[in-house]
């Protein structure tokens, strides 16, 4: 080992190292250090250019994935925001619908000041082979009883057929179990609006017991007469869409399209009490 340190090679190398340490340092302090660095830097420039290009590409590659992650995170945030906004829009729509409903409800109350209404929401729709029954969120707790009429702001829906503590079931006017005493608004012709099994799937009921010469036309509006049923007088049932002679009698049969959209009811009103139709009332009118 000592032989190496004493060798001419090591001494020369050490001198070189000292010179290369001192000279650039001194030049640097004198402000001339740039000369040496400049010389080697000039040689290194093209190589540095290649390396920096490669590193730029590598940095760009890494950055791409980093940005991709950022974009993914941003996308997740935006999706959450969109979902939140959609939920708000849905809520606003529901409020708007409820507002419309309450407005109509208020109008109906003003129109029929003798009616005692109970607003209800449709919470179920049971569709069987023979009958479609709506379930409302009102029951005996709310003073609901069987046979109470159920309406919307547009017209008659049906009647309460079964009552629980907090719910009730409604048979619609399309069902065969339903019949409503009715009259034609324009002419006053009387009849009975009933559900017909063959027509219920089409959302149509029919008005029967009309004489063959009855004054009735397609487009006439039909209202409840308040006679012989548990519906008050003057509730809109629907519109005449077709007139056909009865096969088994000399009477006419009118197909009625219900005014209330029975396939898409969300809110309804149960009429808990009303002034029953009498000749006196009619006479007052």
């Amino acid at each position: 080992m000592s032989r190496f340190f004493k060798s001419r090679f090591f001494i020369v190398a050490l001198l070189c190292a000292i010179v290369l340490t001192i000279v650039p340092s001194v030049l640097s302090f004198m402000g001339l250090g740039g000369q040496v660095r400049n010389a080697l830097g000039t040689v290194a420039t093209p190589f540095r250019y290649v390396f920096s290009t490669v590193s730029d590409a590598a940095v760009g590659f890494v950055k791409y994935f980093k940005e991709f992650d950022d974009i993914k995170a941003e996308n997740r945030i935006l999706k959450d925001k969109v979902a939140d906004l959609e939920a708000r829009i849905d809520a606003a729509k529901a409020i708007e619908e409820e507002n419309e409903w309450l407005y109509s409800y208020l109008g109906l109350r003003r129109e029929h000041i003798d009616y005692e209404f109970e607003a209800a929401r449709v919470i179920g729709r049971e569709s069987g082979n023979y009958m479609t029954v709506l379930t409302l969120n009102r029951g005996t707790m709310h003073g609901i009883e069987t046979n109470m009429p159920v309406v919307t702001e547009k017209g008659i829906v049906g009647y309460v057929s079964e009552v629980g503590a907090s719910w009730c079931k409604v048979v619609t006017i399309l069902e065969t179990a339903s019949s409503v005493g009715a009259y034609v608004d324009r002419s006053g012709e009387l009849g009975l609006v009933e559900g017909v099994y063959e027509l219920r799937d089409k959302g149509i009921c029919q008005m029967s017991y009309l004489p063959s010469d009855a004054d009735i036309k397609v487009g006439d509006l039909v209202y409840s007469s308040g006679i012989g049923s548990f519906y008050p007088r003057g509730l809109l049932i629907g519109k005449v869409i077709e007139l056909t002679p009865d096969e088994f009698s000399r009477n006419l049969i009118a197909s009625i399209e219900p005014a209330a959209d029975l396939s898409d009811i969300r809110n309804a009103m149960i009429i808990k009490s009303f002034t029953a139709y009498t000749e006196e009332v009619v006479g007052d009118e």
């Binding site: 080992m1 032989r3 190496f4 004493k6 060798s7 001419r8 090679f9 090591f10 190398a13 050490l14 070189c16 190292a17 000292i18 290369l20 340490t21 650039p24 340092s25 640097s28 250090g33 040496v36 660095r37 010389a39 080697l40 830097g41 290194a44 190589f47 540095r48 390396f51 920096s52 490669v54 590193s55 730029d56 590598a58 940095v59």
Partner: protein, 183 residues
């Protein structure tokens, strides 16, 4: 007393110096351009010193000395500021590594790892002295220098330099693995 080392043809010495010099130049370029963009493990790794030590481990005292001087000079010229202590420091590291491999260590990866770690500690100490001398660190706390400069540089260098150790070994085994040439 004969102070002369075993003779090596000057052409061989020159050839080795040029090849190792080019290799160190490439590593210095990588260090000062490519890795300076990444800061792997929080600092730019020192690739030249581990390579100088690897050359010293494989090619003994004479090439360790030359590689140290050349590597130190290149790295100072390409990336240094202020005092240029690197030729002296790297030469000391190169010579010490070669002599320790000759006496204590073996010519293997573990030896290189230990010697590189020691070399980085010495180099780090000189870097701090150099930085203080050139007034670039006068207002920086010592703890900060350790946590933000020396320790990250140490780990970054020792980890990133591992593949370059094997490349250095490959160059040596392909070109110079000839016992007659050992200095």
């Amino acid at each position: 007393m004969n102070n002369q080392l075993s003779p090596i043809p000057w052409q061989t010495l020159l050839k080795k110096s040029v090849i190792w010099g080019l290799w160190l130049f490439v590593l210095a370029l990588l260090q000062t351009s490519f890795f300076s963009f990444f800061d792997p493990f929080g600092a730019v790794p020192d690739l030249v010193l581990p390579a100088v030590i690897a050359i010293a481990v494989f090619d003994r005292e004479r090439m360790g000395t030359i590689a140290g001087i050349v590597g130190g000079f290149i790295i100072d010229a390409l990336g240094g500021v202020g005092l240029s202590l690197s030729p002296l420091v790297y030469m000391i590291c190169g010579v010490a590594a070669a002599l320790l491999v000759h006496s204590i260590f073996r010519r293997d990866f573990l030896s290189w790892l230990i010697l590189t770690a020691l070399g980085l500690v010495i180099s780090g100490a000189f870097s701090v002295i150099s930085a203080y001398a050139s007034v670039s660190l006068e207002n920086v706390a010592v703890g900060h220098i350790f946590s933000r400069l020396l320790i990250p540089t140490f780990f970054s260098s020792i980890i990133i330099a591992i593949p370059f150790y094997f490349l250095t070994k490959l160059i040596w085994s392909r070109l110079f693995d000839n016992r007659e040439m050992e200095g």
